[in-house]
């Protein structure tokens, strides 16, 4: 075997053999990927019509989802977003399958780690969404209750309740994703505890006179003139 064969021809042969081995895999991967694109677009089209037909847009408008999306800068309808999500999930699934078809160890390892992490991302998104709805609901409950109780700082009460729940949800989501596990919980505890302490101090120092007046009224019976309506 001469040097030319060893240095030039053999590598070329090996390369050619590997290319010949790889090409069918590549074409089948490409085929799966294209098929994924077609199926994804088709499913997106079908589900967009299905969600519109079952009135999901109306339902999401009532539940405040549309408001949330608009705040986040999204102009699409909820049915459109859901259909797009289904389409993209399909395309991603087909892409993953097509990449696995290539049988490249590095890509396989990467995909495996990604697939194992994906459930955490979904759970985190779910926590954030649930947190957002609960924050809105309880924030509004607190706002209405404090307005009806005649609290001048009703707006602040509503916003504080909303923010606390949202902050809790974000902390839980980050915990789920494993980002700064201990740090996030400690930071949340410090911030939340700090806010409560600040409010206690503010009320204790700033509201000393009000508290005194309130107690005096209660103990001495010098109450504000109240209505004696029987509303019913």
């Amino acid at each position: 075997m001469n040097i030319f064969e060893r240095l030039i021809a053999e590598p070329f042969e090996r390369f050619f053999e590997r290319t010949v081995e790889f090409l069918p895999l590549f074409f089948s991967a490409l085929l799966i990927f294209v098929l994924g694109l077609v199926v994804g677009l088709l499913l997106k089209w079908i589900f967009a019509r299905f969600f519109r037909a079952v009135g999901i847009d109306r339902l999401s408008e009532r539940s405040g989802t549309v408001e949330l999306l608009k705040k986040g800068g999204m102009q699409d309808s909820v049915s459109g977003i859901l259909a797009k999500m289904i389409g993209w999930i399909t395309i991603i699934m087909f892409t993953v399958i097509s990449m696995r078809t290539l049988e490249i160890p590095a890509v396989e390892n990467l995909l495996e780690s990604l697939l194992l992490y994906l459930p955490n991302v979904f759970v985190a998104i779910l926590i954030i969404l649930t947190g957002y709805f609960l924050a809105n609901f309880f924030g509004r409950t607190a706002l209405i209750a404090s307005v009806n109780a005649g609290l001048k700082l009703s707006g602040l009460v509503g916003r504080l309740v909303k923010l606390s729940i949202y902050l809790l949800a974000v902390t839980m989501a980050l915990e789920q994703l494993g980002i700064g596990r201990g740090t996030i919980v400690i930071a949340f505890a410090i911030i939340f505890g700090g806010v409560v302490l600040a409010l206690s101090l503010a009320f204790g120092l700033g509201g000393r006179d009000i508290a005194k007046e309130y107690l005096e009224q209660k103990l001495k019976g010098e109450e504000e003139k109240k209505d004696e309506f029987n509303h019913l």
């Binding site: 509004r140 409950t141 209405i144 209750a145 109240k226 029987n230 509303h231």
Partner: protein, 351 residues
Amino acid sequence: MDIVQNTTIEDFKSILLHHRVSPVFKIATPYHGIPGKGSAFRMIFQIAKALNVKACAVVDSDLRSITPEWIELLVKPVIEDDFDYVAPLYHRHKYDGTITNSIVYPLTRALYGKRVRQPIGGDFGFSGKLADYYLTKDVWDTDVAKYGIDIWMTTTAVANKFKVCQAFLGAKIHDAKDPGADLSSMLYQVVSASFELMNTYPDVWKSAKRSESITTLGFQYAVGLEPVAVNLERMIERFRLGVKELRGLWEKVLPQEVMNFLNKADALTAHDFYIPDEIWVDIIYSYALAFHSKVINREHLLKSLTPLYIGRTASFVRENWESSAPEVEDRIENLCSIFEDKKTFLAENWE
């Protein structure tokens, strides 16, 4: 019943001929069931059914002006005149019963076409047949089990064509208001029961035309009433707080012209404060439509009505500061007419 020798009212020398000495058969039982007026009434209906009674009467427990004649007035029309439901009719202070006067009476009258003046009076007479009918309804897990029971009883009787009348009972004087009773919860329960009934009987209320009087029994006489203390400034402040904080929520429910008016009313002084009848009717009908189409959570929706109701009550108090009882009644009559006139708006927008 006492029987005296034939005599006149000025003659104090009449001879007592007969006095009932035998005791009246009675069953007294405490109620230990689920808390709530409606739940307690359910037990009364069940007892009435078990005893197969011909007539039954219920009265509020905090009454100070009740006399033995009330029971007769509530029960007799059922026994002797074949009525199924006897609503009360009282003389009340002009500022008393504001939920009744500004929402429940005008709304019920406009919707179902019967002028039951005290649909949530709390003291009612009803037939055993009607008590049986009430028990067939599955409403005991809703607001009907609480303060909503009164309007539910009245509306169910009217909407299902039971024979309804009202009996004049005199003055309604009750114990001082329970300090624990939360206005917004009370308003929520009563209004939600009224709106829920609109969902139950849409065909009945859509087909009812102008309202008509119902039979009124009992001799109507003038009565003395106790004064009612009012803190107008505080009420207007509550309204303003509502405009400031709940504006965003109201915008989802109320038409733009009502919102424009509320923004203007926010700037009015206590001396000029005024919410006209037309605006108030638009508010109630818009809330009814929002409740029906579930624009937002129903409890949030109805509890956000409280500042508007307080504002309307403040306006009513200010307008009628100098008015006599009949003048106030005329104003309520005018409000009822507007409720009836604008009913087409409600029917047309009901999906």
